[in-house]
């Protein structure tokens, strides 16, 4: 509040405060074309001309996946904060506060349950805007919670990955999320529930080297960077320029690591189709018992 807000009447005050988004026009990193931000939003954050898939805000992603944009948010568990009492150029606790304010979320993973073209699923989404989507204790525990929820509800589990990898500030506690999440992948398998990974830009490091590469089906968004080692590290090691398209979704598909590269507009239909194909027994039984109930 400054002096002017105290003297101007409320109606005019709101006029003064009218917020203008910082960037009304967004530049496509690929083609350089300028897109009006509303147009981008309406197009699921895909640049209309070039087809470049920009980062999609978590809420909009969830809205786009579930029938009537209706879903239940699942709580993510609390975890010990800052086990290493870590500080680099900033204190880790300060960094956490900063990102919590920025995103409105406790950490980098959001969970939701609901229906996708009539098929029940549990979905986890990694938010790259929260400290690079890094895999710390909170994210690991959230993913585990989501997988347990899928098992309890006997529904498929779908995860949208986006992460630079481990959360450095949590040291070895971060690395331990690799075996921890893998254990729950095994339980999904034992429960005969589909586990589908959607790799979005970027998915690298310890995330790729654990649950992101253990899906029954791997789907990637066009152009997404997917890999283990970062491009800069590889360049420094081999001292050569990297081949064009290296570590992109299409490259991974070519090398047998990804089943399909799917445009965002087709994502929901593809996921729903796969889930209903895998869950056919369960869905048929459910239909039969629903009929019996009606009769």
């Amino acid at each position: 509040m400054n002096w002017i807000s105290n003297v101007v009447p409320p109606k005019i005050r709101s006029f003064l405060r009218r917020e203008t988004p910082e960037n009304l026009w967004v530049k496509c990193p690929d083609s350089g074309e300028l897109v009006f931000h509303k147009d981008l939003e309406h197009n699921l954050h895909v640049v209309p001309g070039s087809g470049f898939h920009m980062r999609m805000p978590v809420k909009q992603r969830l809205d786009s996946l579930f029938d009537d944009a209706h879903y239940e948010s699942l709580a993510t568990p609390d975890v010990p904060q800052d086990p290493l009492k870590f500080r680099d150029v900033k204190r880790y606790t300060d960094r956490l506060k900063e990102y919590r304010t920025k995103t409105g979320d406790p950490d980098a993973v959001r969970l939701a349950a609901g229906r996708m073209e009539g098929v029940d699923v549990v979905v986890a989404i990694q938010n790259f805007d929260f400290l690079g989507g890094s895999l710390g204790m909170a994210a690991g525990e959230a993913i585990i919670t989501g997988m347990i929820a899928a098992i309890d509800r006997h529904v498929p589990f779908i995860i949208f990955t986006a992460s630079g990898g481990a959360r450095m500030q949590e040291g070895m506690f971060s690395l331990m999320q690799m075996p921890r999440t893998t254990l729950l992948v095994q339980r999904l398998r034992a429960a005969k529930l589909p586990y589908i990974v959607v790799l979005t830009n970027p998915t690298t490091g310890g995330v790729t080297a654990s649950y992101a590469m253990l899906g029954d089906v791997h789907i990637a968004e066009p152009g997404a960077v997917i890999g283990f080692a970062g491009a800069r590290v590889i360049e420094q090691t081999i001292r050569e320029r990297l081949p064009a398209g290296f570590q992109r979704a299409e490259y991974l598909q070519e090398h047998g690591m990804v089943d399909m590269v799917v445009h965002r507009k087709d994502m929901k239909a593809t996921l729903a189709r796969l889930c209903s194909l895998f869950m056919h027994k369960h869905l048929e039984n459910a239909a039969v018992s629903a009929q019996a109930d009606a009769a």
Binding site: R87, A166, M168, M172, L175, P179, T182, F228, A229, I234
Partner: protein
């Protein structure tokens, strides 16, 4: 010829003096030298054990990477009889960065896998400095599955700066190979023991260290990313590696406190390379004890105990 690390200079000076005196004594130059020699030797020994009792994480990093530190092959030679190495991932190739095979430990069958860093230029190149490609992890997974089928416990000897970062490794699915190896490690119904003998570097380490028991040598390090890599991520300069090593809690002592490892194997004063036989035997004893603890578990109990251990990690600190 002994190689000294920079921070060992005071000890190096003392030991050089001891050597000088010893040479004099051999020449029979002076009578009173014996007493002085004993005094100096005691001083050097004390300086060494004092120094090693208070190593900083960065100093431990250097000890863990010491070129004379015992490596995979030394452990095999000392601890395993009838060792029969097996090769290849049955898909693409053979990766010598990870060595694996079957043999006998304390008279019983064992499957051993682990990274070998090499000990001279030729062997270092042959083993790619202990940095494995996907074939190495796929071979490890293959051997663990064999061990599972034949009811043979698995021993992982971990010593790597990390999985190899290269175009070919990425092309052939480094991430998937590591993920699969973790998956197999956690899924087998036979006991598995990992020993971090030097460097436990990131995904390249956890790929074969997702085990029932994780043992660690006193001055080994176990990291989410090497101190150099962490420094370049966090401070944007790899020169801050010492700060990264300090802040990231990579020592056996910290990790035992956090419940991430199960046992510390004490090293001789001056580090494992000062007395190889002693550390190799001590490691053998620790492995024997760990296997003994798991001897009464059936297949389901083994899997359950492993899962419970990892799932409990970090839930109470």
């Amino acid at each position: 010829m002994r190689t000294y690390l920079d921070f060992e200079k005071p000890v190096a000076d003392l030991e050089a003096k001891v050597d000088e005196l010893r040479a004099l004594e051999l020449n029979g130059e002076s009578v009173s030298i014996g007493e002085e020699l004993t005094r100096l030797e005691a001083k050097a020994t004390k300086a060494l054990s004092d120094l090693y009792a208070g190593l900083t994480p960065w100093q431990k990093t250097q000890v863990a990477r010491h070129p004379q530190r015992p490596h995979f092959n030394d452990y095999i030679t000392h601890l395993v009889t009838d060792f029969t190495p097996l090769a290849g991932d049955r898909a693409f190739g053979e990766d010598q960065a990870i060595v694996g095979g079957f043999g006998r430990f304390q008279g019983r069958s064992i499957c051993v896998i682990g990274q070998e860093k090499g000990s001279d230029t030729d062997s270092r190149i042959k083993h790619n400095f202990g940095m494995a490609r996907p074939e190495g992890y796929r071979k490890a997974a293959r051997l663990m599955e064999l061990a599972d089928r034949f009811d043979v416990p698995v021993l992982s000897l971990v010593d790597t700066a990390g999985a190899f970062p290269g175009v070919d490794a990425e092309e052939r699915g480094q991430a998937q190979a590591i993920a699969h190896s973790i998956d197999v490690c956690l899924g087998i119904g036979v006991p598995n023991i990992a020993v971090i003998i030097g460097e436990g570097g990131s995904g390249g380490a956890i790929a074969i260290a997702s085990c029932n028991k994780v043992l660690m040598l006193e001055h080994a390090i176990y990291t989410v990313a090497s101190p150099e890599a962490s420094a370049s991520i966090l401070w944007r300069e790899s020169g801050r590696a010492e700060d990264a090593a300090t802040n990231m809690k990579i020592t056996a002592q910290d990790l035992l406190r956090f419940g991430i490892i199960d046992t510390i194997i004490p090293e001789p004063a001056g580090g494992a390379h000062r007395d190889r036989d002693r550390i190799l035997s001590a490691t053998g004893d620790a492995i024997g004890a760990a296997l003994g603890d798991l001897a009464s578990f059936d297949r389901e109990a083994i899997k359950m105990a492993r899962a419970e251990k990892f799932l409990a990690m970090g839930r109470r600190i």
